[in-house]
């Protein structure tokens, strides 16, 4: 059985051995904030909490919805489960845990338990040390794309999940599924926010 199928199975078979650690973390998380309000299909509950906390810090609610409002954490869990191949999945698992370990080394507590100041400091550090995406032409990166690391990967997935969500795509950005014409040079003020598609 491949990993994805195995994971799906663990999610539905109650009482299986594989479920025990998840249940355990779920119980633990009852005593902590934030509490995960959904059941991950790929991540452990602890890992999912980290992703939730991270995407909330990256794209918090303002006058517009935040990443958690758009269920970006759930989307990333699905992306890991279905888009990533086994190798990519294994890398992500290692990297998530490493992200938390480094956090604990530096601040003495897990990422989900950091105060706002420490969290910002940690993310600033990650911004500075993470690789960047090369430019793309017609869907493929130009030049030699080096790995961008866990932080930048999650950030790009968070942006993708957030900005491709229906609420942001239809009601915050400018949604125009059938423009009907191409006008090459119009005042931005006529449009306001960016086109969503």
């Amino acid at each position: 059985m491949d990993r994805r199928a195995a994971l799906k199975k663990t999610a539905v078979v109650a009482g299986s051995a594989a479920l025990v650690p998840s249940l355990f973390s779920l119980l633990q998380s009852c005593r902590q904030q934030p509490r995960l309000g959904w059941e991950p299909i790929f991540l452990s509950v602890n890992q999912a909490e980290l992703i939730s906390t991270l995407v909330d810090a990256l794209l918090p609610r303002t006058e517009t919805p935040g990443a958690l409002d758009m269920k970006v954490d759930m989307f990333i869990d699905v992306v890991f489960a279905k888009l990533f191949d086994t190798k990519g999945q294994d890398e992500m698992i290692t990297e998530i845990d490493r992200f938390d370990e480094l956090c604990t080394e530096k601040f003495g507590s897990k990422f989900t338990e950091l105060n706002t100041t420490d969290r910002e400091e940690y993310l600033k550090q990650k911004e500075a040390e993470s690789g960047k995406f090369n430019g793309k032409v017609w869907g493929t990166a130009v030049g030699d794309q080096k790995p961008v690391g866990f932080y930048r990967t999650i950030k790009s997935l968070a942006l993708w999940g957030y900005f491709s969500s229906e609420e942001i795509g239809k009601n915050v950005l400018n949604y125009d599924p059938i423009p009907g014409e191409y006008l090459g040079c119009i005042p931005l003020s006529d449009v306001g926010n960016a086109w969503s598609l």
Binding site: K82, E120, G135, L159, D176, P177, G180, C185, W195
Partner: protein
């Protein structure tokens, strides 16, 4: 639309058989049917009817769980196609299943295939450029390959003929190296493209930038609607605004009442009757039942796509043609070409922050060839030339991934369009090298027991020298145009990425060095015509599909006239 006649059971004999229903096969069928010939199209894939079979054409990102990306499981079926960077959940069903259709890469080669009615005409880039005598005379003048048996003059009226029906939008420029088509109104350049155009043309006399010439309707034509600027072409266009066999040529062929199309029909071989001394039909394998069936016709058009056509010819052996149909010269399978295209430059454009655009234009800019077009522009670094495609636009939220920011203000800033960006990428002509070839890999068969193709092809010194100049010139042009943060790139890639496979059954004047004559007939089997990319004698630097259309219409016209004279 009238239903297609897919019942080929009742009739095994036709006036004409067309193998393949992509860009050139669709044209062959239309012209043959309109010429009064009962025509059978053999299509190896499934039926795809215009609009009816475009299930994803209106999807928004949020309509799919992975927002348009392919699941890892599905990606396995498109491991090859996905290398080109274009495959996703909304168009994956128009890419062939790579697991079921293996080939052998003697050297790395990307072979992107579309196995369905319409073939890759559903997926193509739609850029349409006439070739010129610079292209048709090139082999004769610099001695690479063999001379084309035709010149621009032979094809000019046929270009006009197919353009009037296909619908090509573009701007007339009066250039000899890039003859104007019969144009529908051009699409518009945006503010930044206009600005860069004027700066490049001022700084580099002899270079021009224009809107891409593309098979997108900018006015309604023959009942088809004009482009709505959704840029969702590769899912199938509900308006029929871009040229595809499904929207344009096959309905026209069907309207004559002369068309039968048989899907799931993998051509095993073309039947040469040694007693009669001629080709009499085609042997197929039903892809669903594995049944072997023969169909007969007076003439056969091979339009299976460059490499598939050659694969069929190689697999068509007889006492007369032990090494493949029409292969007296030994050139069958040789002289494979593609275009290189991942070399160029990109950068950020300052200014115009208060400007934007409306619509998602499925088209970019074009910079026609300006090197080696006359004595004045001759270089000693390489023969032949290159052109650029590209375009400008404002970046969006995805650029936020690289910005060293996070948080509420950062998020809200991404609601606005980002900086303007501009890029150009060159398309280089590839020379016809005898040693760039395909053969049948008899060690390996596919799930239908057919020997797979082994592809042995590479770019060589001339292509590399062109690419060097493409990158250098691209960076220079962007610098002079005031573009900032310029990144020049040369993503060396294996052949096939251009998805412009050409050659392997070339046209020529001499049967001793070519497979086809000047009207695309196999020299020694004149009732067989090859009018897809396999027939190409050189590769030019411009996109080839428009030339396939013109060659096909011309060849059918010749075929019908020869049939009337009872010469075939």
């Amino acid at each position: 639309m009238a239903n297609y006649n897919i019942d080929a059971k009742r009739n095994m004999t036709y006036d004409a058989i067309v193998i393949g229903s992509g860009i050139s096969g669709g044209w062959a069928a239309k012209e043959l049917c309109e010429g009064g010939l009962k025509t059978l199209i053999l299509e190896r894939g499934r039926m795809v009817e215009h609009v009816i079979d475009y299930p994803t054409m209106n999807n928004d990102p949020w309509d799919l769980e992975l927002r348009g990306a392919l699941e890892a499981e599905d990606l396995k079926k498109h491991a090859i196609g996905a290398r080109a960077g274009f495959v996703g959940a909304n168009n994956g069903h128009f890419y062939a299943n790579d697991e079921e259709n293996p080939y052998t890469e003697v050297k790395p080669f990307l072979w992107v295939r579309g196995h369905q009615m319409g073939g890759r005409s559903l997926l193509w880039g739609k850029q349409c450029y006439r070739w010129s005598d610079l292209d048709f005379k090139a082999n004769a003048e610099d001695g690479h390959g063999v001379d084309w048996p035709i010149r621009y003059n032979d094809l000019e009226d046929w270009y006009t003929y197919v353009e009037k029906f296909a619908g090509i939008s573009g701007q007339a420029l009066g250039l000899t190296q890039l003859p104007d088509s019969h144009f529908l109104p051009p699409m518009e350049l945006n503010c930044v493209e206009k600005d860069i155009k004027s700066r490049i043309e001022k700084e580099f006399p002899g270079r021009v930038m224009t809107i891409g010439r593309a098979a997108h309707l900018t006015q309604p034509l023959n009942g088809r609607g004009q482009c709505q600027f959704r840029n969702r072409c590769d899912r199938g266009c509900p308006y029929g605004a871009y040229f595809s066999s499904n929207a344009v040529t096959l309905p026209a062929a069907n309207a004559t009442g002369n068309l039968t199309i048989r899907p799931h029909s993998i051509v095993n071989s073309i039947i040469y009757d040694d007693k009669k001394g001629k080709v009499t039909g085609v042997r197929i394998i039903d892809a669903e039942t594995n049944e072997s069936i023969e169909f007969y016709a007076k003439i056969i058009f091979c339009n299976a796509s460059t490499l598939s056509t050659t694969q069929i010819l190689m697999n068509s052996t007889s006492d007369r043609f032990a090494n493949g149909l029409g292969n007296d010269s030994g050139e069958l399978g040789h002289n494979l070409m593609d275009h290189t295209y991942r070399v160029g430059a990109m950068g950020r454009v300052e200014g115009h922050e208060d400007k934007y655009y409306k619509g998602r234009r499925p088209n970019g800019i074009y910079i026609p060839r300006y090197v080696n077009i006359d004595e004045k522009t001759k270089t000693d670094k390489f023969v032949r030339g290159f052109g650029y495609q590209g375009g400008g636009g404002r970046s969006n939220w995805s650029a936020g991934a690289n910005q060293e920011q996070f948080g509420g203000d950062f998020k809200d800033s991404l609601m606005k369009p980002g900086p303007w960006e501009f890029f150009i990428t060159g398309f280089a002509e590839c020379l016809p090298y005898h040693e760039n070839k395909v053969t049948l890999d008899k060690e390996k068969v596919d799930k239908w027991g057919q020997p797979v193709l082994a592809i042995d092809c590479e770019f060589k010194e001339n292509e590399k020298a062109i690419n060097k100049q493409i990158k250098k010139d691209a960076v220079e042009m962007l610098e002079k145009a005031g573009v900032k943060d310029i990144v020049g790139f040369d993503n060396e890639h294996e052949p096939g990425y251009g998805i412009h496979e050409m050659g392997t059954a070339r046209m020529g004047r001499d049967p001793r060095t070519s497979i086809l004559n000047g009207t695309n007939q196999i020299h020694a089997a004149k009732n067989v015509f090859v009018t897809d990319g396999a027939c190409m004698t050189s590769s030019s630097c411009v996109n080839p599909s428009l030339t396939y259309m013109a060659l096909t219409a011309r060849a059918v016209n010749h075929a019908i006239s020869e049939l009337k004279k009872k010469n075939l």
